[in-house]
């Protein structure tokens, strides 16, 4: 590519949002195998199973913002994170990076732009190749993408390791020679190696011990300030999310139920599910109280309940909740909630 063309491509598109997800959906379909198809010829009536992992979710992330994505297992938060990174294709909806759809670009250009979006995975044990040395784990991507020469790889990786708080001399080691906290740091160094602007952290501290968790969270805060990063921080831990995030988004069974500034969510949660989640979380400050028990369990995303997904567990459910899907509406300044109860107040 000529330099002029490259410059043209680099023209900043005037967009306030770094990443925009517009009404994105993801369905996982379990197709029928040949045995089932034959059985159907005889009238077995087997159908494809469709999991609606993410259902028409819209999410904008501004530059420099830390967005916390909270939800219980199976609510689609990891799937949404992977869609944001581009690891999952979209079943419906559009994904815009700096106002531009990456899918429409040619392969080479998309590959280059895509580098700015990186992911940090939950399990620091499973996400590092046990047969590769740290130098290769961290240094492979920048080498492949031509960001460093092979002769400089060593220094480059050493610098990155120091940046995430590891000894540069560790670069000949294998993953099994590290503790859990150190492995998490290697995973962070690997994501940083291609100079990203936006990081999706999927439960990045969930597997760590309390004292190590604090160290890694501090590293995230330090890196954001030093490198001007934007995070989508996926976690089930409300304390962690509250500490780190500017804005909190709460998901339930594939949909966003509430979204607001972190302080607003924790001070005045609007949606009954958010309220239940906050009340269920044990707190250091609360002694020997009755635990709030929200009834029931998360329904299967294979057969989500009609209307509002939360209505079978909701203490305020009305007949309307069983039939009509509530829309995400503004209930306060930049505070969105998807609940029919808010209509009564207006």
């Amino acid at each position: 590519m000529s330099q002029a063309a490259e410059k043209n491509m680099e023209q900043p598109v005037p967009a306030a949002n770094l990443l925009e997800l517009q009404a994105v959906s993801k369905q996982f379909v379990k197709t029928l195998d040949s045995a089932a198809k034959i059985a159907n010829l005889f009238g077995a009536g087997m159908r494809q199973e469709v999991v609606h992992a993410v259902d028409e979710v819209s999410l904008d992330i501004r530059r420099g913002e830390v967005v916390g994505l909270v939800g219980e297992s199976g609510c689609g938060k990891s799937t949404l994170g992977r869609m944001a990174v581009g690891l999952h294709s979209l079943t419906a909806g559009t994904r815009l990076w700096k106002g531009q759809s990456l899918e429409q670009l040619d392969v080479a250009e998309r590959r280059k732009r895509q580098l700015a979006i990186q992911m940090i995975f939950q399990d620091p044990y499973a996400s590092l190749n046990p047969r590769m040395r740290v130098q290769d784990i961290v240094g492979e991507a920048p080498l492949v993408h031509g960001m460093v020469e092979a002769s400089q790889q060593r220094d480059y990786v050493e610098n990155l390791l120091q940046r995430v708080g590891l000894d540069g001399a560790m670069l000949r080691r294998f993953p099994h020679q590290f503790s859990g906290g150190q492995r998490a740091r290697v995973g962070i160094a690997r994501a940083l190696a291609v100079k990203p602007e936006f990081l999706v952290c999927d439960e990045a501290v969930a597997a760590l011990d309390v004292s190590i968790q604090a160290q890694v969270l501090n590293l995230f805060i330090k890196l954001r300030d030093e490198l001007d990063l934007t995070y989508l921080f996926i976690s089930h831990d409300l304390g962690v999310v509250r500490h780190l995030s500017d804005r909190v988004v709460i998901m339930y069974l594939g949909r966003i139920v509430e979204s607001a500034a972190a302080d607003t969510v924790f001070a005045s949660a609007n949606h009954p599910y958010t309220q239940a989640l906050l009340a269920s979380a044990p707190k250091l400050e609360v002694r020997r109280t009755e635990f709030f028990a929200v009834k029931g369990e998360i329904p299967s995303p294979l057969h989500p309940p009609p209307g509002c997904h939360f209505h079978p567990r909701c203490p305020h459910a009305m007949p309307r909740c069983k039939v009509e899907k509530p829309a995400l509406k503004e209930v306060g300044a930049k505070h969105f909630s998807a609940c029919h109860l808010n209509d009564g107040l207006a």
Binding site: E72, S73, S179, G180, G181, Q182, D209, V210, S211, I212, Q213, A214, Q215, L217, N218, I221, K222, H236, L238, G239, V240, R242, H243, L244, A262, D263, A276, L277, A279, S280, A281, P282, K283, L284, E285, V286, R287, R288, T289, E290, F291, F292, A293, V294, E297, I298
Partner: protein, 327 residues
């Protein structure tokens, strides 16, 4: 209140090729009837091994080398294996972290529950079945008659853990040891289970040892707490004393590093360094290499002693050091 379990000077060691691992080192505590004790520590601190030692579940190369485990006054260590079998699952029950691993996947729930009843009580299958049904009702499982016929894979994670709790309750034990039973569960499901356990303990007078790494669960659930580090209890006392006025630098560090105790967006207070390997512990106090208050004295092993209504293993207890909650 009478004491259900007293553990004195318990030492469990593993002779490995790399050296002797003191997984549990001079651990002492006691639990009263109907009391809930939180046993807190990070991975490798010996909290689970303490639980296994009480249950008599330590396998070679591990061995309990010293100490007493007194269940209502009688020492479990001196019992022959056959007598211990009669106590395990009957007077002491254990609930593990992963209920998928502890329930047999090829047996129906009723088979597994009735087996647990009939191993300890001479009752007919009909009676055992009825007792199993009642246990399922007590832990809040809807339509217990149908659920008895189901296999473990037909339950969700939270329901499976409830079944495990129901099995532990079957023989009305004096003591239940729970090893991180809610760690794998979602927050709302964890809330439900904590609620059930608290209610059951209060009603039946069963003593509970709740092993966890999560201080906030202990804060809400337990009466007393023991904090373990590198195989030893470093501080123990009532939840109120220990969590609100920690005197050991490690306990203080753990509490101070919780996100709720730090201003939002600012770096968290952290404990420097990492947990040392049990094979290669520092001489004396194992925490001294990470401790800001360590002196030459700390190279000597501190003994567990009573300091201000709690047991403490530290040469330099912190002065009244209330950890402020910042919100």
């Amino acid at each position: 209140m009478d004491t259900t379990l007293t553990v004195n000077d318990l030492q469990t060691q593993f002779a490995t090729r790399a050296g002797l691992v003191k997984a549990v080192d001079q651990v002492s505590f006691s639990v009263k009837r109907g009391e809930i004790m939180g046993l807190v520590g990070e991975s490798g601190s010996g909290k689970s091994m303490t639980g296994y030692s009480i249950m008599g579940l330590i396998d070679a190369p591990g061995k309990i080398v010293a100490g007493e485990i007194l269940l209502q006054g009688s020492d479990l260590r001196s019992l022959p294996a056959e007598a211990m079998r009669k106590i395990r699952g009957n007077r002491i029950a254990m609930i593990f972290q992963d209920p998928m691993m502890t329930l047999n996947p090829v047996l129906r729930i009723d088979t597994q529950m009735m087996e647990a009843v009939r191993a300890h009580q001479d009752v007919s299958r009909m009676v055992a079945r009825e007792m199993s049904r009642e246990a399922l009702v007590r832990v809040g499982i809807p339509s217990p008659d149908e659920r008895l016929q189901a296999y473990p894979h037909q339950f969700s994670g939270g329901m499976r853990q409830r079944v495990a709790i129901a099995i532990a309750l079957l023989n009305q034990p004096d003591l239940i040891i729970c090893d991180e039973p809610t760690t794998a569960l979602d927050v709302t499901i964890q809330g439900q289970i904590l609620y059930e356990m608290q209610k059951l303990c209060r009603e039946s007078g069963t003593a509970l040892i709740w092993i966890t790494h999560d201080l906030s669960v202990v804060a809400g659930l337990a009466d007393t707490v023991a904090v373990m580090y590198a195989g030893r209890i470093v501080e123990s006392g009532t939840v109120q004393q220990v969590l609100e006025h920690p005197r050991h630098p490690y306990t203080h560090g753990l509490i101070a590093s919780a996100p709720s105790r730090n201003p939002r967006g600012q770096p968290l207070q952290q404990i420097p360094g990492m947990t040392p390997s049990l094979l290669n512990l520092p001489e004396g106090c194992a925490f001294r290499t990470r401790c800001a208050h360590a002196t030459v004295e700390c190279a000597q092993t501190p003994q567990l002693r009573e300091v201000e209504q709690r047991m403490l293993r530290c040469w330099h207890p912190l002065r009244d050091n209330v950890v402020e909650a910042v919100s």
